[in-house]
Amino acid sequence: MTAVTAGRGGRSLVDLVFRARELSIVAALVLLVAVTTGVNGNFLSGQGVKDIFLNASILVLLAVGQSFVIITKNIDLSVGSVVGLVAFTVGDFLAADHGRGIVFAVILGVAIGAVCGLANGLLVSFGRVPALVVTLGTLYVIQGLDHFIAHGRQINAVDLPPALLSMGNGGVLGIPYLPLIAVLVMVAAGYYLRSYASGRDFYAIGSSPEAARLAGLPVRRRVMTAYLLSGGLAGLAGVLWLARFGTVVADAAGGWELQVVSAVVVGGVAITGGVGSVYGAALGALLLTTITSALVVLKVDPFWQQAITGALLLLAISVDRLLALRVARILRRRNARHGS
């Protein structure tokens, strides 16, 4: 019964710690933007702000999907390949006939992504194969499939319907569509994870898969859902990739899986599962893309960009470890005081 007595106090404490984490990313972002704007005022001009959010949107979507998977103590490395596959196949599909609707293209993209996610989910949850290996395998399989379909061809902007292209850089009331979509998805996912019982299951599974199973939670189904969401969002990201860049070759988004995992971890989702929020992950994605843009504006050697991303990652992991130890100690002391 300790879990229940410690519940209220423990939860608010943990909440505070992780809100602090999100706040610290916001602080880092503000500092970064302030310094960059100090050097070059254009960074925060209308166009500049628009660019910052446009640049981050696709990574934010992927990070939200990845958060679900990582919270359940798994990982999805296939997302980069899924984005590439979807961007190319949907591009091919639209190029064949401009009359085909954008809505249908989005549904098709999400469906292709979801199928990839389903394959991952089945292998991980029912095949009981470690997620790292499964998704590394599907990374290559999906990439191979993409290369096979593309066969060295390229999708050009002129082949795409103008409506799709304007989705990539147009907007409503001055707010571009891409960030709008990303924020909507993020808020919906965040609300679900926080306020629904099934949403809390993801955390329980990630904290201790064995305990979750003994408590009667549908572990396999939830893990499956996580991969389905990650795949589906990668599919959506693929369509947006196509809309944004216009020109797509087979290896689009190659290597992005590592950027996504970095964004999620920097955003406070523990790689060991059970901890974190999609808001944090989205902020992590925003921070990483903004760093890249800022370094360009600050005229810093591109070499440093990767080094800084790496350093941030290490910092994030160290902070996580430290916080986890700290929280565990406080909880233990409190439980002892309440006399369990």
């Binding site: 660019d51 290369h147 990539g168 843009s293 360009v296 591109p302």
Partner: protein, 363 residues
């Protein structure tokens, strides 16, 4: 990634050791450039040391194209044309290659091609020096090596088929941009990776051209590197425009860079204010030429490049040419070519595309 790159590295090391051993065995007597040409003397009986311009093109020559990476649309066009050309001289051609364009990724493919005893290897080098060891080994086994698109180090190949002289490309890009912006203002270059051989050669000539008095009002403010990655090229373009608010034009001599820069500018407030030019394919640039973002850009005909590369490999493997300066040969429908300094053959001047002529091309 870690294990595979380590495996490639160890393979490269092994090849390096092997070729070291070979050159050590063969060396001692001759150490000049003809050793590379003749291929170690004892090992090759078939390839004659001197050119016989009238030698017939052998039938059934096995040649292989090794592009920077497969699935690169541009290289696919080049290689396809080269493979088709092989049909004209009754050779067997194929394309093999890595799926990533990293420096060492081509090494294992070269080794496989050596084992398959190809007559000629055509390579677009990802890194001028990383492929050098294995290519030397191929030459020592009598395999002819032709570099195209991006050169390998001079002593590691017999010929280099240059799409247009680096000098002409570099200088013409500056002229094109200067004409578009009225010869005045700040300009920037958006390149691919910082160590791409061809990009750097062109950029050197651009800088040299900018030194001329007629371009004294043009100021090159920055060379940015988009790494041939869409997002990175986007962000570099944004950065250039923010860091240099008076920027008048961008030269991007790479297909990924020019389409990313055009795409970004066509959807931003800079459209019509900042000119974009460089090297791109008509299909990918059509949208931006039609919507007015791009006035003019250039490229050679990639099909002709593949065709010429294929024919020159056949001429080499048949002993018509050896790769020495001044030798002449006929490349099918393209006519006669002369080998220039350092074994270089130049396809021709770059071609300029604009709103009037772009619809005549489909590649």
């Amino acid at each position: 990634m870690f294990t595979s790159s380590r495996r490639v590295a160890s393979a490269a090391a092994l090849v390096g050791l092997l070729s070291l051993g070979l050159s050590a065995c063969g060396g001692g007597t001759t150490k000049d450039s003809t050793a590379a040409q003749g291929g170690g003397g004892q090992t090759t009986g078939s390839a004659p040391a001197s050119a016989d311009p009238n030698a017939p093109i052998k039938e059934g020559l096995k040649i292989a194209f090794l592009p920077k990476q497969i699935n690169n649309p541009y290289e696919t066009i080049v290689d396809k044309a080269g493979i088709e050309a092989a049909g004209e001289y009754k050779g067997e051609a194929k394309e093999v290659g890595p799926s990533d364009a990293s420096a060492s990724s081509q090494v294992s493919y070269i080794n496989t091609l050596i084992q398959q005893k190809q007559d000629a290897i055509l390579i677009a080098a990802n890194d001028a020096n990383a492929v050098c060891g294995p290519l030397k080994q191929a030459m020592s086994k009598g395999i002819k090596v032709v570099a195209y698109d991006s050169d390998a180090a001079k002593d590691c190949r017999n010929l280099f088929i240059n799409q247009a002289s680096s000098e002409e490309i570099g200088r013409s890009q500056v002229k094109m941009l200067s004409d578009q912006i009225g010869g005045k203002g700040e300009i920037a270059i958006l390149s691919a990776t910082a160590n791409a051989t061809n990009q750097n050669a062109w950029i050197e000539f651009m800088k040299d051209e900018l030194g001329k008095p007629e371009y004294k009002d043009l100021k090159l403010v920055k060379v940015a590197y988009g790494d041939d990655d869409d997002q990175k090229s986007f962000q570099e373009t944004q950065g250039l425009l923010q860091a240099y608010p008076d920027l008048k034009g961008i030269i991007s001599p790479t297909t990924v860079g020019i389409s990313a820069a055009s795409r970004y500018i066509s959807g931003s407030k800079y459209k019509g204010k900042v000119a974009v030019t460089g090297l791109g394919t008509p299909n990918q640039m059509r949208e931006y030429v039609k919507n007015g973002t791009v006035k003019e850009f250039a490229l050679w005909n990639p099909k002709d490049l593949g065709y010429l590369a294929s024919f020159s490999a056949a001429a080499l493997a048949s002993g018509r040419i050896t790769g020495a300066e001044g030798e002449k040969f006929t490349a099918g429908k393209l006519g006669e070519f002369t080998i220039g300094k350092d074994g270089e053959i130049i396809l021709g001047p770059p071609f300029t595309f604009n709103a009037e002529n772009i619809d005549e091309f489909d590649f």
